[in-house]
């Protein structure tokens, strides 16, 4: 054998033998869950450095946990963004709408209306609050779990559902897997299925904005599992070198399909601590605390806009449901994790806060939930007029060949003619 000329395992036999460490999550199916090892910090106790500070001044915050909302549902400390009640209610409404949307789309997939769906249950704050803190024309490069951004930016639900059903109303022409949206009008970049690719692109967009003396910044999102990809590290180094006006959001929902955060390095340090090594600002926030998420985004956005450079924000949260409709989380994690999660639910927490400050009540919440469900239902009915997946009401065959290039080369013309001929043979009446 060519390899391992010394590979009999006996070399250096007087030295200790090495052992491979393979991470293991604390809990597996059926296990009692005890999250007491998680350091849940005191709301309001974290300092808020000036937005123009040296990046290194944020280093302690990269391993801390910025929190605003207390157990008594009051807001505390320097990170309290002091939003007016209308803004808080708008945030609650967008999160509730996102959740209602997810519920119905998930059911739609189960009923065979489409091939695939992904919920963001429990993580709504990590997209809705940043979308509210950013300017509406700041460019976002999301992963597949930030439907809350589109909903916050007012992208019509009907358009989202048309995309999910891949029907003839789908602006993306039925080409993309459900939930892989794109809306340039909403400064929302086309979603890729390949993890982390959007992160260096966000940095590049931000660099371009700086090259042109623009005032818009960029923000990107990815899961903690995806931070393992080289693309994310490319993003960090470019962001650091060019002091790019960009926000890198790591949504640490603890799980990447069946792999816990330890497989992305979470056993060693926090994800926000990646910022320390690159010399960029890093914040670690309670991702289920919408006020903390809002405040962190606002801090990073102000910093970027003032040429202070990039910020990496880790949103510490929990993926309350399966990875997608193709996943069964009971096969690899304890069902108790969700119920025991010490940071609660972002929608409940904001609701309770609004009630605590006398700006909301349970009746209004019930009315809101009902209204959201009705909105989604109406949008679904509307979208279904354009068809559901696999029922004939798709885009014409020719559209399959468009947009591969700007113009249709001869070989695609020929192939389009072939596709249309095949259609006529298969469905002579159509």
């Amino acid at each position: 054998m060519a390899n391992g000329p010394t590979g009999n395992g006996q070399v250096g036999h007087n030295r200790p033998s090495l052992r491979l460490h393979v991470p293991e999550p604390k809990f597996r199916p059926g296990d009692e869950v005890d999250f007491s090892h998680l350091a849940v910090t005191k709301p309001g106790a974290q300092p808020r450095p000036d937005e123009s500070c040296e990046a290194s001044e944020t280093n302690p915050l990269a391993t801390d946990l910025v929190r605003v909302l207390g157990d008594d549902n009051q807001a505390y400390g320097p990170w309290d963004p002091r939003l007016d009640p209308d803004t808080l209610r708008a945030m609650l409404e967008k999160m509730a709408l996102t959740r209602a949307f997810d519920e119905r789309m998930y059911r739609g997939q189960r009923q065979g209306k489409t091939s695939f769906y992904m919920k963001c249950t429990g993580e709504e704050a990590t997209s809705v609050a940043p979308a509210m803190a950013l300017a509406s024309d700041d460019m976002v490069f999301p992963s597949y779990r930030q439907q809350g951004i589109l909903i916050t930016r007012g992208y019509p639900l009907v358009e989202m559902i048309n995309q999910i059903y891949s029907n003839r109303g789908d602006k993306l022409k039925g080409r993309q897997l459900p939930i892989m949206y794109s809306s340039r009008a909403h400064s929302f970049f086309t979603i890729s299925g390949n993890l982390a690719t959007q992160t260096p692109q966000a940095v590049g967009w931000a660099m371009a904005s700086a090259i042109r003396g623009d005032s818009r910044i960029a923000a990107t999102w990815l899961g903690e599992g995806s931070t393992a990809e080289g693309d994310f590290h490319s993003a960090c180094i470019f962001a650091a070198v060019y002091n790019a006006p960009v926000i890198l959001n790591v949504v640490n929902n603890q799980w990447a399909i069946s792999s816990f955060s330890g497989f992305a390095g979470g056993e060693r340090t926090t994800f926000a601590a990646r910022a320390v090594g690159y010399g960029i600002a890093g914040l670690r926030v309670d991702g289920n605390d919408p006020l903390a998420v809002y405040a962190a985004t606002q801090w990073a956005a102000n910093r970027a806009r003032a040429n202070g450079g990039p910020t990496l924000i880790e949103h510490f949260t929990y993926r309350a449901e399966g990875h997608s409709t193709s996943d069964d989380p009971t096969a690899y994690r304890s069902a108790q994790e969700h119920t025991e999660w010490p940071l609660g639910d972002p929608i409940m927490r904001l609701k309770d806060h609004l009630i605590a400050i006398g700006e909301w009540d349970e009746d209004r919440q019930s009315a809101l939930d009902l209204e959201c469900a009705e909105k989604v239902k109406a949008a679904t009915k509307e979208a279904e007029k354009n068809g559901i997946l696999g029922h004939g009401l798709h885009h014409p065959f020719h559209t399959m060949f468009e947009d591969v290039y700007e113009d249709l080369p001869w070989h695609l013309e020929e192939q389009a003619a072939q596709a249309i001929r095949e259609r006529k043979i298969k469905w002579p009446q159509a």
Binding site: M1, V22, E229, F263, H411
Partner: protein
């Protein structure tokens, strides 16, 4: 075969071996299980392959059986998965990394193309890369453009890599064992559309499980099918059909339906290619149809067409035809319009016979 622990534990011929009916996932799992038990240098790693047993369940039960240091999850980093496999191979292990979908192999391309494929050459044989990269590929499951691609031609183009694609549970097991035993880096693409049952090209009909088909009868225990040997699916005189993976079943069904006496070859290994079997068949039939699901331009069909034309020109009675996927990303809602189905294949067969 490099490892010395292997002994042949199949004292009888393959035909006599007791068989079990397995689907392709179970057959792959069986091959991995057998190789792990025979050769302690075999290790498995990849995204979600450990406790969970892989998103398609191909590695189910193996971590429990062989332990966490031989079957383990990895960070989501395909460059790292393949690069680490190269390093483990350099040590003397025999890694079988899984890339969750072929569509996600691209971050690992530098490690495959510049490294794994060339270690032997650049070190004059001092170092080798005996890895087998398993990955589900191909469309037909409404996976959209990032869960449907057939990128085999990217790999056949690289000198130093072998590319293997099984089309039945029986072959999946024997070929995977041969790939693992092979001292060169092997790309092992598993056609996910036929994991659970073969496919005749009619997507609107229910899937027939493998159990109903004789190719699901998988001999128990160890056996290997040599890389570089095609399988004769059907003997015939009217035309040669070259296919691999899912398309083997589709062309077989179309030929049957049209009553064409086709000579069908399942290539099984694209590199090294069974050129003898191809030449023999084309010299007999004088006509050749090449079918793959991958996009057409610079697809492996182009290589096959060139080889047939160069080597069998004076036997050809009709131009060589290629039937392929279209030169577009794999569309979601129109995936069956993209797929080279019975109509496209049938038209090409008619054209070849009319020539």
């Amino acid at each position: 075969m490099a490892s010395s622990v292997i002994e042949d534990d199949t004292p009888f011929g393959l035909e006599d071996a007791p068989t079990r009916s397995l689907n392709m996932i179970e057959a792959i799992n069986d091959a991995l299980d057998i190789m792990m038990s025979r050769d302690p240098s075999v290790i498995i790693m990849g995204e979600d392959v450990g406790f969970f047993g892989g998103v398609f369940r191909c590695t189910a039960g193996l971590q429990e059986k062989y332990g966490k240091t031989r079957v383990f999850d990895t960070p989501i980093n395909e460059c790292g998965i393949i690069g680490a496999a190269v390093g483990m191979g350099a040590y003397g292990l025999r890694p079988v990394p899984e890339i969750q979908f072929a569509d996600y192999i691209y971050p690992g391309l530098d490690q495959l193309i510049s490294e794994a494929a060339r270690l032997r050459y650049r070190s004059a044989g001092e170092f080798i890369a005996p890895l087998t990269v398993r990955s589900p590929f191909g469309g037909g499951i409404f996976g959209g453009q990032t869960h449907s691609q057939s990128p085999e031609a990217l790999f056949t183009h690289v000198s130093g890599l072998k590319t293997v694609i099984p089309s039945t549970p029986h072959d999946a097991k024997g070929l995977l064992i041969a790939a693992i035993e092979d001292d060169d880096p092997v790309i092992f693409f598993e056609p996910k559309r036929i994991y659970n049952g073969p496919f005749d090209g009619y997507y609107d009909k229910p899937v027939q499980p493998w159990k109903k088909f004789p190719q699901s009868k998988v001999p128990e225990g160890y056996y290997s099918i040599p890389l570089g040997k095609a399988r004769k699916v059907r003997d015939g005189e009217a035309m040669t059909i070259l296919a691999y993976g899912t398309m083997v079943h589709v062309v077989e069904a179309v030929a049957r339906e049209k009553g064409i006496d086709a000579d069908i070859l399942d290539l099984r290994t694209l590199v090294p290619l069974d050129i003898e079997a191809i030449e023999e068949s084309v010299e007999k039939t004088g006509r050749c149809l090449i079918v793959h699901e991958a996009t057409r331009t610079s697809g492996f069909g182009a290589e096959l067409s060139a080889l047939v034309t160069e080597r069998c020109f004076y036997h050809l009675e009709a131009p060589v035809e290629r039937v392929t996927g279209f030169d577009t990303p794999y569309p979601h809602s129109l995936e069956w319009a993209f797929f080279p189905g019975p109509i496209r294949i049938g038209e090409a067969m008619d054209k070849i016979l009319e020539a």
